[in-house]
């Protein structure tokens, strides 16, 4: 089993450990259309946090604003205590965020091996990688056997579930501080959903990667998350543990 890196070491030994991700008063949208209004959330070191909400609630927009694909109209985003608000996706990626976009996380014309190698190569330029690449690579291939078996195949020949596994593997190869997953279970059969969510949990526990997970399937997500946020039409409506979430009247939240 791999040991999780110590947060203090990476934060330069400061006693008051900043959360990995802190989002305050995030307001964002497209043109005049405001989609998110005052969203706040925190992902602590080593936490797996879920962001839930109905279709069109603004979950994807939240992830896109955090990584810089959408420029926030107001609010702030901090990664390990440093402001990254409005920075470009390439920059936030270098700083340690790795988002897996919904349904298109792989490069179809490239082989599995090339997809993984590219992700690793791009990330080695970051100084704070805590582990040797080979170790992470072995972890990924071990977790998703299909990636090992079909190493030389084009990612374009993969099924939806296999692509999702490769996409998560690529995100891991960048050794992110924070992995952001946008509905990794979209279009998967229920057994595969369980497999993917279990993998996310495993990554979180064994590599110590902090995760912000967007999902639709509330029940399954509650089983793997440490904390949960719910947004409704772009406004935060719940924030708590899965146990607290079970006490709620869900019809009010979605």
């Amino acid at each position: 089993m791999l040991s999780a890196g110590t947060p203090e070491a990476r934060n330069g030994g400061t006693a008051t450990a900043e959360p990995v991700l802190r989002v305050d008063g995030l307001t964002a949208g497209y043109g005049k259309h405001v989609v998110l209004d005052g969203v706040a959330l925190v992902v602590g070191e080593g936490e797996l946090v879920a962001l839930l909400g109905h279709n069109g609630a603004g979950k994807t927009t939240a992830l896109r604003s955090i990584v810089g694909q959408v420029r926030p109209k107001a609010g702030s985003i901090h990664l390990d205590g440093a402001a990254v608000t409005g920075m470009s996706p390439a920059v936030t990626a270098k700083r340690g965020m790795s988002m897996v976009p919904q349904g298109q996380g792989v490069f179809p014309s490239m082989t599995v091996e090339e997809n993984l190698r590219l992700a690793a190569a791009v990330a080695t330029r970051r100084s704070s990688n805590p582990r040797p690449q080979d170790e992470v690579r072995a972890f990924v291939l071990d977790m998703f056997g299909i990636l090992k078996r079909r190493h030389k195949d084009k990612a374009g020949s993969f099924s939806g579930g296999q692509r999702q596994m490769l996409a998560i593997g690529m995100a891991l190869m960048t050794q992110p501080r924070l992995m952001l997953l946008d509905e990794p279970s979209t279009g998967l059969a229920p057994v595969l959903v369980d497999e993917v969510l279990a993998a996310v949990r495993k990554v979180n526990q064994e590599l110590g990667t902090s995760v912000l997970l967007v999902e639709q399937d509330t029940k399954r997500v509650l089983a793997v998350s440490d904390r949960v946020y719910v947004i409704k039409l772009g406004v935060p409506v719940f924030d708590g543990t899965p146990a607290e979430m079970h006490q709620q009247d869900w019809s009010q939240l979605f």
Binding site: Q69, S88, P89, A90, F107, A119, A121, V122
Partner: protein
Amino acid sequence: MDLLLSLAKNGVIIGLLYGLFAYGMSLIIATSGVLHFAHGLTLVGSAYSFWFFFQEKELGVFVGVLAALAVGGLIGVLVELVIYRPLRRIHATDMVFLVASLSVLTLGQAAIVFIFGTDPKSVRPNEFLRWSADVGPFNIRTWDLLILGASALAFAALYLLQRRTAVGLSFRAVGDNPQRAETLGIKLQHTYVWVFLAGSLVAVLPAMLLAVQNPVTPSMGFDLLVKAVIALVIGGIGSMPGALLGGILIGLVESLATYKLPTEWAEFTLYALLFIFVIVRPNGLTKGALRTA
């Protein structure tokens, strides 16, 4: 029979040059999504630089090659930085890019006419280039060997670049899905500059090799551009075997046509070939296919 074989050999040789030029352009198109017609200007610019420094100023072949590489690379990178990057920022449509690219080519040609005039320039072949030997039915010239060597080296280098290096992998990744590439930390603007540089440097080889064998004229870029477009329709954009096959097929058809037809008709046979492909195999020979940029 010997004439036919000899024409076929010449066709394959010149086809390698077409394929090389087409592949440089295809590399750029596949990654940036821009139908980079100004690639023709890269060719003319570097051919003139080579002629100017090597022949006119007699500064030696080394300076000539360096000047051609510098000018060719610079044209590609400048067109990206000055024309395409601002267009990308305002989310211009493909059509706008295309028109802009064609304008650059025609304006650039006009500038060359203005500076050097319309009369063809030629590089006088030296002792080395005049050498040839009969091998079976073929007359092999230095030029043939140069093209064989240069294209083998260039294609091998490009193959390795795109499979072995981070920059080459990022060319392909950005071509597949730029937004996803960005979320991995790939800077799109840098990638575009690198791919324009790489693709343009590839065009410098055919530019110099053409310059030592054929007259250097302001319109040579446009002529080769037409052939490259046909080669890519036939072979598919982004595909290395496709560009090579397309180029060689064009070279062969153009060369063999002169067996029966007057030389002025060579160009016509190319359009006939293009026409047949567009009707029969609009997706090209390889699965790379002509996709929208």
